[in-house]
Amino acid sequence: MLIQEEKQVRLPRIVMPFAVIGNYGLYMLTDLGRMGIYLILSLIGIFKQPFRFRELLKQLHFIGTGSVAVIFFTALSSGLVLGLQGYYSLSKFGAEGMLGSAVSLTLIMELGPVLTALMVTGRAGSAMCAEIGIMRISEQIDALECMAVDPFRYLISPKFLAAIISVPLLTAMFDVVGIFGGYLAGVKLMGVNSGAFFSGMEQSVTNHDINLGIIKSFVFALLLVWICTGRGYFVQEIRGAGFGAESVSKVTTQAVVISSISVLIFDYLLTAILL
């Protein structure tokens, strides 16, 4: 039975843009509220018993171990480029000895956390979104609820915990490999003094800089796992996503885009607040 109700009310053409913006604003608020509740339930689920240790290991393997290769090559190439570019820039001022300091600070405070989060989003975040989206449309999540099994504790929270553990560790690995890349480019290729490279690094990098990188990596881990799994979980609620397999593919793309943009925005905000 189709009831055509509010649609019958014709708005003057001049107010239509406001109606569209208002409608979209309401949708965004609803979506934000839904995602907020989702985040709280996912975090609570981490502490619920029984703890799913095997699932946590599986997710650690998937998000963490599975991302090692991609993080290694991204870090190495970033470090090599930073070494070359840094040498080129610093040599103009005769400050090649500062290369170690420039490479390490850039990697530890900025590139390490950001690129690690972007790589994990692309590799594991998209897969988590698609997995949960498919489970939603094939009623597997409904089945869990019907068995009175909390889908957050069973399915979502292990992914949250695994991301929160893995991403900072991957970031630390990124920093080390990146600095090694900078060392290769600066010292071995361009001939910067090895002692100057490392002493510059030792003198300029403080605990505060390392803490900033660690805080960023925790926040980015939370952001990426929240957005990617949340989009999958609400695949049927997302406006314009369509239905079935098409909705999962659209929502997965959307999750990666939103997650990546959020990482970049939060990178600026955290730098501005904590630097």
Binding site: M1, L2, I3, Q4, E5, E6, K7, P50, I134, M135, S138, E139, Q140, D142, A143, E145, C146, M147, A148, V149, D150, Y154
Partner: protein, 264 residues
Amino acid sequence: MNQTKAAVETEPVVRFRGVTKSFAGPKGRNVVLDNVSFDVPRGKTTVIAGGSGQGKSVTLKLILGLMAPDSGQILVDGQDVTRLRSSALRMMRTKFGVLFQGAALFDSLTVFENVALPLRERLRLDADEIEKRVMATLDQLELVGHEGKFPAQLSGGMKKRVGLARALQLDPEIVLFDEPTTGLDPVMTSDIYDLFSRTQDRIGFTSIIVSHDIPKVFELADQIVLLNNGEIDVFASPEDIQQSTKPHIREFVEKTMVNCDEFS
């Protein structure tokens, strides 16, 4: 005390009271249930029938609290599902076993792990007890030998049987079947219904079946609920449907049942 117990046992297990449910669509709101009221008698089989998009699966989701109605009450054993908090709703759901349309098996788990899941997560039994119970159920459903397979390696009929095995693991009081035979050949359909009858005789649950498979499914029915354009008609038997004079019921009978010998 005994009178109270007897009253509970004869009371309908599920009651819809003035339930309305609609969905937003591009051309307005699509009302799938409009002020609907009916009872599901305890220990009996209720079949919910109707055309596509008439709200059959929505009705099941409303009973389980997976969806909220726009208005009205849905009572399960006297508890209003629409007012339950999430923890109470979770407890209420332990009364149910559900066989989903696509079986909703977990792709990453084997047949054994799928069937064992409710035992592991709800009852937290030890491994030996779980294995004993799961293998007994798989034996009853003729699935022994397939316990190590993943859902992707199973036929449609086997998936349904695994779904049924999982739905029955916690000895539910009420079992909901959402299109249990969709996509199955006639032989497999017959097998599923035989299995259903045997299991219900043995366990004695209340069942609610949503199905297109008319008139086969009506052979099992103690009560039939026909959904049509948001409204419902409740019948005690298939014969009552055939005797109805309402135009949309006559149309339904003509389209689905007139030429069926099983139904005379």
